[in-house]
Symmetry: C2
Subunit: 343 residues, 2 copies
């Protein structure tokens, strides 16, 4: 049976993760879960972000389920670089999978787009690009200061994430992959991405392809999000585009994310895109849907496609039955989702 590590984290993290575990237990009884105390609270208490011993222990699990980490009193970058990005890099989670659907029952912000009309997934590269941490500065705090950030891209890293995107497209109805980059300005990295994309596409003749510059894609996500099926893009572009995709499908409150090592050599990590929302923490008001959808991605990655599909269907039932604006209780939503998932 699967062994998962649970990092509930800060703020609403424990509340929403509690519901995700409830749903996992309902569809796949017997999953072994171990809790790890990481995040802002631990950092404040001990000064530790991610001790090597914990990293080693996490490595022994099949997957990680994370709620949310952070609070406004932690200096920017500490938990991001020290925990989230550290896990992505240490566990070679090169596929950052972010599906966006405009679910029936959810009021999106776009006047012309109806529920059901958006169903896309962004496959974001997770271990390279501007996230490599290659940069520095000189003459700091003088008028002569210069600061650099370097985007590092390897054929190895680019090709494998593109291949994953095509494989996912093949399992979907429209079988279309859009490459997003900025080849007209970032000519070196752009050329590498474009050539790797063309090479992989040749192995998937049944998949339709297109290319868009990142600025155009950002625009089309607002004016015509339905046009996308699978989008593959670099780390930073993916960061931005997935938040736009979340916004046009009802907000990051519903957005799920998986940081995946497809080969399963290291554990993959699954987390809602939303933050720890300290303002509503502890009051049972947080919507656990994003955490539960992240749990569905986890189940799918671990080979339980059936259980994953039941969880996703339960979310669809839950959302279709909601009255927009009506208050919700975290626990009750979790109970309903668990109920739908086994019905």
């Amino acid at each position: 049976m699967a062994r998962i590590a649970v990092v509930a984290g800060d703020g609403i993290g424990p509340e929403v993760v509690g519901q995700a575990r409830k749903v996992i237990d309902a569809v796949l009884p017997g999953v072994e879960a171990t809790e790890y105390d990481l995040g802002a609270a631990r950092y404040h208490r001990t000064g530790e972000v991610l001790p090597d011993s914990v990293l080693d222990e996490l490595a022994g699990h099949d997957a990680i389920l994370l709620g949310a980490v952070g609070d406004p009193t932690v200096p920017p970058g500490v938990l991001e670089r020290g925990l989230l990005l550290k896990l992505r890099f240490a566990f070679d989670q090169y596929v950052n999978l972010r599906p966006s659907r405009l679910w029936p029952g959810v009021a999106g912000p776009l006047a012309a787009v109806k529920p059901g009309e958006v169903d896309l997934v962004v496959v974001r590269e997770g271990t390279e690009g501007l996230y490599a941490g290659a940069g520095g500065s000189l003459h700091r705090d003088t008028p002569a200061e210069v600061a650099t950030e370097e985007s590092l891209n390897t054929r190895h890293g680019v090709e494998r994430v593109i291949r994953d995107a095509f494989a996912r497209a093949r399992r979907r109805e429209r079988r279309k992959v859009t490459l997003v980059h900025k080849t007209n300005v970032l000519t070196h990295a752009g050329s590498l991405w474009a050539r790797a994309f063309a090479a992989v596409a040749a192995d998937f003749p049944d998949v339709t392809t297109e290319y868009q510059h990142v600025d155009a894609a950002a625009m089309f996500l607002v004016t015509n999000p339905s046009r996308y099926d699978v989008v593959v893009t670099d780390n930073l572009f993916g960061d931005i585009l997935t938040d736009i995709a979340a916004a046009v499908t009802g907000g990051i409150g519903l957005a799920a994310s998986g940081c995946i090592n497809p080969e399963g050599r290291y554990p993959s990590m699954f987390e809602p895109v939303h933050g720890s929302a300290p303002d509503i923490a502890g009051r049972g008001l947080a919507d656990p849907v994003a955490a539960v959808l992240s749990a569905a991605l986890l189940l799918d990655q671990l080979g339980h496609a059936d259980a994953a599909a039941r969880v996703t269907a339960a979310v669809a039932t839950e959302l279709a039955g909601r009255t927009p604006g009506a208050p919700l209780r975290t626990e009750e939503v979790g109970d309903r989702l668990a109920g739908h998932a086994v019905a």
Copy 2:
């Protein structure tokens, strides 16, 4: 009297620039305009993109008005790097000014946002960052290929554009500047931007400030664009955010842009954000409003605030009188705008 260089360019460029000139002539008779033949057509004919002699001639003008350059047969990057970016860098156009308003009469894509509710301007850095062209590749076309792109940021370059943004905010009603970056991941450049921002803010105690990560800003531009007044950001983030801002205010068909050297040491350049639209070129169907709004930015930069305001008001009148979906004729729109502007 002002001397402007006109680069009408390709596709619908000449059509929309023709109307912009008509409107300029109406509000400020006697402007001297010299036409320069640059763009895809010249590139195909002569292989030249921007000869040094032309660059020298352009330098002798007070401003440049550009329509659109490019067509699908020019390899990506040729006109971008060789013409548009070359001008931005050669003429030290470090302020890329992109206002976005949801004009009364224009149907935006957002269900909850009413005309009149969005009025923001993005002040995008124009001469640094990932646009510096610092990058390269090794082992090209082998499995060992690596490609880099380097973002270069100087205190000099960052501080001056931030200062410009604050100065513009001071002239606006809400007096608010939002810095957008990604300080939690791009820690070196992010820190430079954040420290320069704080230093400049101290000189503008009457201006409200806030900071947002680029992914959050991309999202809020969709969920709540009204919250922004002046947004200052780096070159690549500005490229993406301005297209989102255009999308939520009715599309790039209405978006104006100025690449400005505020000190006037070199000519500034003004252009609609839209492209050359070869599919509708030569048929008199292109909307010249973005070109005319760009002409208003030009007039303002050259010190003719009054004439600029009249052009902007003419656009407001034109748009308020439009029936959504009704066909328009480029020439007729230009005639109406010129008429409104002098009424």
